[in-house]
Each structure stands twice: as structure tokens, then as C-alpha cells.
């Protein structure tokens, strides 16, 4: 699952680099995706530790 998230992020970033043509939009993309990835990994790691 973790690798799926990381590969998903890498794929999204490559798509973003292909279609986003302004620096501001790139920053927005960074602000949007980074906390989302952190939250996902954080939630998954907690769930995994709790054995749920």
C-alpha cells in the first residue's frame, strides 16, 4: 500500500510536471499533495501498528 502511494505520488508529479506550466500552480500542487501523502502514510502506519 505504501509503495502504491509513493508510485501514485511519483506518477502524479510527472503528470503535473507535464501539464502545469506556472510556478504558482506547482507550489499549489506541492501544498496539496505533500500533506495528503503524509496523512495517508501516517494513518496507514498507525493502522498497521494497531493491527487493524
Amino acid at each position: 500500500m505504501l509503495y502504491a502511494i509513493l508510485y501514485g505520488f511519483a506518477g502524479l508529479t510527472s503528470l503535473a510536471l507535464r501539464y502545469i506550466d506556472s510556478t504558482g500552480a506547482m507550489f499549489l500542487y506541492g501544498i496539496g499533495t505533500s500533506p495528503a501523502v503524509i496523512l495517508l502514510i501516517f494513518t496507514l502506519s498507525r493502522r498497521y501498528r494497531e493491527g487493524a
Binding site: L6, T23, G24, M26, F27, L28, Y29, G30, I31, S34, P35, V37, I38, I41, F42, S45
Partner: protein, 274 residues
């Protein structure tokens, strides 16, 4: 006043757990004994493994950079006062968030609070230097003060959070000062070696009165790095962009060319003689 964000008891327990884990791995204690030690050293802090720590560090770093970048892009901050205020604001915010996560959420080497604490250093230093009135805008003054400021800020992060790499970054930043002072290359090396030796001696003296194991371990690691770095200072050479190194390189190149030429002449003389 206590500088560290974690209590000595928490740090001692984490240290004890780490040592017990190493003992168990070496077969000195059994799994049951390890469990017993772990049961007696509950510290209440959230930790994660190295892989997650790196991931969290990376993504937090991306997020902080993106927030700061977007702010400067959207609001087109140009004036000195606005630049200084914005940089100081972001630095303080990042540091406060790191402290909040470490204190309230009990994050310990989690990557997130580490990235936030480290990301607070450049904006704070930039903000202070922009806000300070510079008398003559000299390059020497700017370079020296930014190195010292960064060193002080990283040292503060080390004292507060205990990140060993923050202490290393602080020493590395302070080590750049002799190279900004327009000294001869030999003097630069001597000053740098003297400064590192002074830090090493201070650390050794301070360790004498230290009773906390985790602090002794940290200072031992620092001392090891300093001991490793001390001989390295004498091997430093001016970089390719450094004009002081150009004369030496030119001299070496012309000497090599002269030797090549002399060798060629000798061969020609030998050829003619045979």
C-alpha cells in the same frame, strides 16, 4: 531553565531501550529480558522507523518550501521590511509548529518535526539579516554574519530538539567563517583547526561533569566527528572558483609543461646522439 523539549527521563528511557535492543541483537540478553526492559522504560513518545522518518522529512520539506514559495509568488513581496517580516514569520511559524508537534503530539525523531525545525533556520537567518541595518553592505560582513547566524540557529535547534545533525550543521556553518575573512590559505586552515580544537576541548571538558548517558553518547559522537574533521582541515584546497587557488594551479601547470618540454628536448638530444 531547561532547553531541551524532551525530559531527561524520556531521553534516558529511549537510550536504555536502544542499548537493550543492541544487547538482545548480540545475544547478551534474552527476548524475555528485552520485553521486561521495554516494559520498565515506557516513555510515551511516538517514534517511527528510518524509512518513514525519511519519507515524512521529505514530504514536510516539500510542503514547507511550497507554502513559502507560493506566498512570495502570490504577494510579490519586494520591500526590505516586508521581506524581513515575512521571512521571520515563516521561520517562527515553522519552529513553533515543530515545537508543538514534539511537545503536544509527542513526536520524537518522526521526520515531520525535524523538517519543520530545520526549515525554520534559513528564513529566520535571512529575516534577521534583512532587518538589521548594514553599515556598508560589504560582502565580508554579510558572509561572516550569515555563517555565524546559521551556526547559532542550528545550535539552538540542537539544544532544543537534540538532533545531532543540527550540531554538525552548526559546526560546519561556523567553520566557513575563516574562509570569509580574506586570510591567506595557511592562516585559514590554522584558524579553522584551532576553532575545531577549541570546540572539541570544550566538549571534552563539559562531558566530564555530565552524568546523563544519552548526553554523553551525543557528545561522544560529536567528538568523534570533530576528531575526524580536524586532520581534514589541513587537506583543504581552494576550490575551482576561488581566485586564490588560480595562482597555484597556474604555477603547477606551467611547471608540468616545462617538465614535459624538458623531457621532449632530452629525447630529441638522445635521438640525435644515437
Amino acid at each position: 531553565m531547561r532547553l531541551g523539549i524532551y525530559t531527561d527521563s524520556q531521553e534516558e528511557k529511549i537510550f536504555a531501550r536502544r542499548v537493550a535492543k543492541a544487547w538482545a541483537r548480540s545475544g547478551l540478553i534474552t527476548e524475555a529480558q528485552l520485553e521486561f526492559i521495554n516494559g520498565r522504560t515506557v516513555h510515551g513518545l511516538n517514534q517511527t522507523n528510518v524509512f518513514f522518518r525519511l519519507l515524512f522529512f521529505l514530504f514536510t520539506g516539500i510542503c514547507v518550501t511550497a507554502v513559502v514559495g507560493l506566498y512570495f509568488r502570490l504577494f510579490k513581496v519586494r520591500g526590505t521590511a516586508a521581506l524581513a517580516a515575512s521571512a521571520l514569520f515563516f521561520g517562527a511559524l515553522s519552529y513553533a509548529l515543530a515545537a508543538f508537534l514534539a511537545r503536544r503530539k509527542s513526536f520524537y525523531r518522526y521526520g515531520i518535526e525535524e523538517a519543520l525545525a530545520l526549515c525554520s533556520v534559513p528564513p529566520v537567518c535571512r529575516g534577521i539579516l534583512t532587518a538589521l541595518p548594514v553599515p556598508d553592505h560589504s560582502r565580508l560582513w554579510y558572509d561572516t554574519s550569515i555563517s555565524l547566524l546559521i551556526a547559532a540557529a542550528f545550535f539552538r535547534v540542537y539544544l532544543r530538539f537534540g538532533f545531532l545533525y543540527a550540531a554538525v550543521l552548526s559546526i560546519a556553518s561556523a567553520s566557513a567563517v575563516p574562509f570569509h575573512l580574506s586570510l591567506p590559505p595557511a592562516a585559514e586552515k590554522i584558524v579553522l583547526a584551532a576553532a575545531l580544537a577549541a570546540i572539541l576541548l570544550t566538549s571534552i571538558r563539559a562531558e566530564g561533569s555530565e552524568t546523563r548517558d544519552f548526553a554523553r553518547e551525543r557528545s561522544a559522537a560529536l567528538q568523534g566527528m570533530l576528531l575526524k574533521g580536524l586532520p581534514g582541515t589541513q587537506a583543504l584546497r581552494p576550490g575551482p572558483g576561488d581566485p586564490r587557488g588560480r595562482d597555484d594551479r597556474c604555477r603547477r601547470r606551467s611547471r608540468a609543461l616545462a617538465q614535459e618540454q624538458a623531457g621532449g628536448d632530452e629525447k630529441r638530444v638522445h635521438g640525435a646522439a644515437s
